[in-house]
Symmetry: D2
Subunit: 266 residues, 4 copies
């Protein structure tokens, strides 16, 4: 099966880019499953129900989150009632609503989707290696096809996680830095890996935030409430992974970046 994953959709700009581009990507690439990270979808901070539904309607089958999960309080009301929205599984056990993984049915094949968050340079969370070990041990009994969004800052932690679960999951795809990396590969035991898929939103912002505000903040270190950049074009970060349904092994991984300098060629 072919899985398409779209990186952190950011604000209205990101939503629009998603709505415009994902259908084009789907027509061209024919993924059977489309997953998107939505932690910045509503004004850069979390996701509300309206935007969540908009992304589903535009083609997402599952939405993953990250450190911005709770920025929009509305999520607490609906995350518990849907199987299509997950937050990092290693969030404080028993203290927060929602789930960290889901199993979706893709034309008769079960696919486990797992959301994890790193601990290096990030807010404290439960041990991602230990929590993932437990969940993956369960998921393995259901299906060999397991996709992981590892939301983290440090390249070392992402690589260590992927190598640690090499052969046990189909793919580990990083999010959070908002910059796509150029290290897509299939590890020896069959796990597809990309450190970061990059984000989806303003091409001329800084990680999607208003450029002038971020630069000023770096210079004067004064508190600032960042808004999503409104000028300029849009970028979209994505990755496509082909997985053997029987073994769960990845057969191919290809990262995709769409932006004004690199329009998508069907």
């Amino acid at each position: 099966m072919r899985i398409l994953f779209i990186g952190d959709v950011m604000g209205e700009a990101g939503q629009e880019m998603f709505v415009e581009t994902v259908p084009v990507l789907k027509r061209s690439l024919h993924p059977q499953l489309t997953i998107a990270n939505g932690e910045n979808a509503t004004r850069g901070r979390g996701i509300n129900e309206k935007v969540y539904k908009k992304l589903l309607k535009a083609g997402a089958d599952v939405i993953t989150m990250g450190n911005h999960t709770w920025d929009n309080q509305e999520i607490q009301e609906f995350i518990g009632s849907t199987k299509k929205l997950i937050r990092p599984a290693n969030f404080s056990a028993g203290q927060v609503p929602g789930k960290g993984y889901t199993i979706v049915n893709v034309n008769g094949t079960k696919v486990g989707v797992l959301d994890m968050q790193g601990r290096v340079f990030m807010n404290p969370s439960d041990d991602p290696f230990a929590v993932a070990e437990e969940i993956i041990s369960q998921l393995e009994k259901e299906t060999p096809v397991i996709f992981v969004d590892f939301h983290g800052e440090a390249t070392s932690e992402k690589e260590a996680f992927a190598w640690n679960f090499d052969g046990r999951v189909s793919a580990v795809v990083g999010t959070h830095t908002h910059v796509q990396t150029n290290d897509a590969r299939i590890l020896p035991q069959g796990t597809a890996f990309l450190s970061d898929v990059g984000f989806t939103g303003p091409y001329d912002g800084i990680l999607g935030m208003r450029r002038s505000s971020v630069i000023r903040r770096f210079k004067n270190q004064m508190p600032t409430r960042f808004e999503v950049e409104t000028s300029g074009g849009q970028t979209l970060g994505a990755v496509v992974i082909d997985v053997d349904d029987q073994t769960g092994r990845a057969k191919k991984i290809r990262n995709i970046r769409v932006d004004p300098d690199h329009p998508f060629m069907e």
Copy 2:
């Protein structure tokens, strides 16, 4: 002019990859200036004189450093007597040996090379924006061609720095994460930018370090002295930038990754 930059050369594996591959890249790409980050060149920690000379002999014209600058104490003895080795310019003013920038002559054209270090998720250093402002203001009087190695962790800081100096420097190329990013572009005023060029060394390590040790460390959080990975093939991260000698504006930027899965095609 064409500038070739090679990311963090790591240990003997990285040195070998550099010695083998850089001449091939040079024959194919014909850069007039070759710069390499050498902060991990000697056993992963700093650089000693022997390795420094080896990299120069193998084709580097200037060596930049980063947070590992002082890991090998030997550098303190020779960094003061060469113009081809620089450390981050925003290291504590007046407290450390060496310089943070250099001017090299490339076929009659002066090129300023500046080494900077980020402050986000890194050890304290002087304000990179303020320090660079001062140095660039000086360099601008000498030449429009200025190349910056920004050694940093956070994508936001790298982007903010590049946008802030857009049009005043020819290129801002990031190092430190050891993972090449896929965001090479030329900003509106003519500065070429790549968040991270990636490293040069063991392809099957974690950021080049022994995989098993790093994974164990993430699991048990016990202190470990990491060694450079010895098994598997090698990778090399590079970027090529074409600059207009008269205006200093970048005309083209292309990132290059060489590894067992992607051999270099001349």
Copy 3:
């Protein structure tokens, strides 16, 4: 001369405690100079002009600040027009309003008051050792009596700073942790030192913030806007230092904590 310093005044509770207790302390201790840290004075976040004036009226001669300096935007409008309000001197040079030190006249003797901020576990700022070296070198020409509020988290940085300037300043008193330390001493060359003077505000909060909110945040790691605790009594953290006006050497240092369990005995 005798200097009284009051730690981080927090919210209305802290203001009230200040207004009630400082006059009592002054009647009992007869300080010639009273300094207070006001970084949390207005609702826990920064200080506005009304509260600034209230603290002066209640007995403060100089107000120092810290990492919360800019939380209340109003300060930007009046910090430039008063000599009695200073912010950390190592804030980004040339990027922010206000000054980092002031000289006040106490019965004919000049006293330099310097506000510094640490870099360990805090937002980036300019090198406190280098910036203080420069300012103290200037102040020394004016007066031997110099008082420093070092606003920082790490005990190591505070101790290192005090020892480094031992004999050149009359006192280094820490703030920011909101917990008074029990290490008051006079260093060999005559600098009085206390790692942290503690804060002034709700005794039953957590660092003065609402207890229930802070505990919940530690458990679920969800974003929370903390408010100042409203229940329970108040605490006040202070230190009294006797300085030789001629030499600037401290002769005595005594830390004072007032709270429901320890009422102040005149």
Copy 4:
């Protein structure tokens, strides 16, 4: 019962101070149980068997540890075979040797001793609130007398922990900052609390480390291997807590600091 706790014993200087002073304290204060934090006992880094036995012989009944637990590798060989040496209970579950709590018998009364580590400004560990909840729930079935060493940096985390378990444990005493705080109190439900007991070792070092090295490091940010300060006198940080054996409620808490400026008065 009366419990005496001694803060981080550091290097040979700290050992000597412990050997000299603890017997004096015991003769004067008559504690039934003496606990000491030994994370820096052997040359400032961890503890080996020889020093562990030395501290027991000199009067410690239980040794707790902290973030330096594994600095001396020898501990891995004997921590598993003793009930008198514990490391933070929230170290990576199942990945490290040793235990995080112990139950000792004091004249017929069971006392639970629990070692915890903070997560703010420290290396990642499991959630201290969740782990402590589980262990304390077990210990409560055995005895109402429970003593906690909370090894942490941030005052907020220590206060939040103590308030959260107020009434369920007899005492929460902080370690790690190496500076004694002046906030000893008994919380409303009966838990004695002190943010930090301070350390035991060189009075004229910086947190016990060689002063000149630490200052130089703050100025030049170069890597340095710190050694324990050898010049000057010694300090000892301690706290004495009286607990009702039947209810486990603390009746009294008194912090003690011994140093050349404050010799212990019997």
